[in-house]
């Protein structure tokens, strides 16, 4: 270390050059739509997580005499369902299971698909052909059909529904990861890492992962929207969780019989699915344009 004052440092401009992710973060925070979506999602997640401490009615406690109350009934701000259970409590508690079965498949598929795509893209050759041709087979099925086929064959249940949705999303994320990795693989810094003696595992983990993760993450965020709709759809068909568990898709199904009596209460669970789904979609769009620094 030199004792002399560092003139180069003093001459540096007053504003520090921001890194890529700091710039992206700043751009997202300035985007009103993305921030509004983030806030709505945080509220929905927090209320689901903190449901037992929110002094809500018992979501399982029904009553034959107060079935299908209207929205705004004193004591039941969002009315009651077909068995007289408080809708507000059921919608908030319902978020717990609905969010897990909607988001977990995407997280699992993100982990599996990114690994597969990274390996396929980096190693290339026969391994790439083997992985990508297998992925192609799953693309021969419309995703709703594939999810329902696997779920229907495995039988009803939360685990089976998560497994089937994971199987649906792995090929999609693998394709994105593979194409991003192939784009990065031939860049100079990878070549430099290889020349300096880094092994394939180190190159993939240290040098490439950070460069491919962004686009895959944005894609996966958008998939959550589809996943929420499909997961609730499976429950709606009777392939997910079982009554009396509060879950948005299942609630929508059991309330179908009530549309002639109290239609707007029957439509509430779907509005929750829609809210989560559109927020993730808008957030994914916001992230994509924030990461496109050239604009």
């Amino acid at each position: 270390m030199s004792a002399m004052p560092d003139t180069a440092l003093q001459a540096a401009p007053a504003t520090k050059a921001r890194g890529y992710w700091a710039t992206v973060g700043r751009r997202i925070r300035r985007d009103k739509v993305s921030m509004a979506c983030a806030i709505i999602l945080v509220l929905i997640f927090a209320s689901a997580l903190l449901a037992p401490w929110l002094h809500l009615a018992d979501p399982y406690q029904g009553s034959m005499i107060r079935r299908l109350r209207h929205i705004g009934t004193p004591g039941y701000p969002l009315g009651t369902d077909e068995l007289g259970r408080d809708m507000l409590a059921r919608l908030i508690y319902g978020g717990r299971l609905s969010l897990v079965i909607g988001i977990l498949p995407v997280i699992l598929a993100f982990l599996i698909g990114t690994s597969l795509g990274l390996v396929a893209g980096y190693v290339g050759g026969k391994l790439n052909t083997a992985i990508m041709r297998t992925v192609d087979v799953f693309y021969a099925f419309p995703s709703v059909l594939l999810a329902i086929a696997i779920s229907g064959a495995l039988g009803a249940g939360i685990t089976n529904s998560i497994v089937s949705l994971t199987i649906v999303f792995v090929p999609q994320i693998t394709r994105v990861a593979e194409s991003v990795t192939t784009g990065v693989r031939n860049m100079d810094f990878v070549e430099a890492a290889r020349a300096s003696g880094a092994g394939p595992f180190t190159i993939m983990r240290v040098h490439m992962l950070g460069n491919v993760l962004g686009p895959i993450f944005v894609y996966a965020t958008g998939l959550i929207s589809v996943s929420m709709i499909l997961a609730a759809g499976l429950s709606f068909l009777g392939l997910g969780t079982k009554p009396p568990e509060p879950e948005w898709g299942l609630m929508l199904n059991t309330l179908r019989t009530a549309i002639y009596v109290n239609p707007w209460v029957a439509a509430l669970p779907g509005a929750m699915i829609f809210a989560v789904s559109i927020c993730f979609n808008l957030l994914s769009d916001g992230m994509r344009s924030a990461m496109d620094i050239r604009n």
């Binding site: 087979v137 419309p142 329902i148 929420m228 549309i259 559109i278």
Partner: protein, 317 residues
């Protein structure tokens, strides 16, 4: 063109075989005995063994697959356990209704999607663009089965304009192209059209933006072409990709109709699949999925060929 077409067809063969393998294996990942649905609870061991060999479940898996595939190629997908009728005829009858629904939905969704997409892309960042993109993002984020319920609430329960469920006043048997029957198609078709509308809008908007920023558009304007002429060139250039997206969406509508058909009790392949799942009718489940997946593969093939016919550059790559 012929060379390209035949090459595409050759590519499809391994995909079709893998699809058949996946459909076949679906039955074998099912927990429990596939005979459970047909066997009476107090069936004797001999009867179970007899049925097992009658269905071929006692043979090794690759042999079973070979036999199943051989029969499937000859149009024999076995008999439905629930009704005893041949699976293929059950599926084909139901698919007809699904195709009708998908085509009606495609006419609504694609027309609106193309219109919104072109306008939004051409007048980017104006209020028209903002409205069109909001409609599109709402379309792709809507749980369509919920939209179906909401439409039923508004147009059937509250206004009493349109029927809530079914495919005609006389049940599913007799369809006719008159208003009495077509009324039943309106709500399911609108519900089905929302996702393709959103996706086509988003794709076409992005495409239009990309094309407008290309040099040839500048050149067209520089040589004095009027804006309507420029617009015509833009439309032509969006055609191949828009066609591919619409083909894929049509396939999704055919194969993914189960939720909407359940909401509206529309007697198509989705409702058939639903009953196959809940009655544990495995041959019917297998057969319906195979037929729908093959439709999807075939449709993708046709789109590829049509795309190459429109845009000669694709053939060379």
């Amino acid at each position: 063109m012929l060379a390209y077409t035949s090459r595409r067809i050759v590519y499809v063969i391994p995909i079709v075989l893998s699809v058949a393998l996946v459909c076949f294996l679906l039955v074998h990942i099912t927990p429990g005995d596939p005979l459970v649905a047909v066997l009476p609870a107090d069936a004797s061991q001999e009867l179970a063994a007899q049925l097992r060999s009658a269905y071929g479940f006692d043979r090794p898996l690759p042999v079973q697959f070979g036999l199943w595939l051989w029969r499937a190629i000859h149009g024999d997908l076995g008999n439905s356990i629930a009704t005893g009728r041949p699976v293929l005829s059950e599926v084909m009858r139901a698919v007809g209704n699904t195709v009708m629904l998908a085509i009606a939905a495609a006419m609504i969704g694609f027309t609106l999607g193309l219109l919104f997409g072109l306008i939004a892309g051409y007048f980017r960042d104006t209020w028209v663009d903002k409205v069109a993109t909001s409609v599109a993002i709402a379309g792709v984020s809507l749980p369509h089965y919920w939209l179906g319920m909401v439409l039923v609430i508004i147009f059937s329960v509250q206004l009493n304009w349109l029927p809530a469920v079914g495919a005609g006043p006389g049940g599913s048997g007799a369809w006719a192209w008159d208003w009495e029957h077509m009324r039943y198609l309106v709500l399911p078709a609108i519900t089905t059209s929302v996702i393709p509308m959103g996706i086509v809008t988003r794709t076409v908007r992005a495409l239009t933006g990309d094309i407008l920023s290309q040099d040839f558009v500048e050149a067209l304007r520089a040589k004095g072409l009027r804006e309507t002429g420029v617009f015509r060139h833009v439309v032509k250039n969006t055609a191949p990709t828009a066609l591919a997206v619409m083909g894929l969406q049509l396939g999704y509508m055919l194969g993914g109709s189960i939720l909407i058909e359940t909401v509206f009790s529309w007697p198509g392949s989705g409702l058939l699949l639903n009953s196959a799942i809940f009655q544990r009718d495995l041959p019917l489940l297998q057969g319906t999925i195979l037929v729908l997946a093959l439709f999807f593969v075939l449709l993708n093939l046709l789109v590829d060929i049509a795309q190459a016919a429109i845009d000669p550059r694709i053939k060379r790559s």
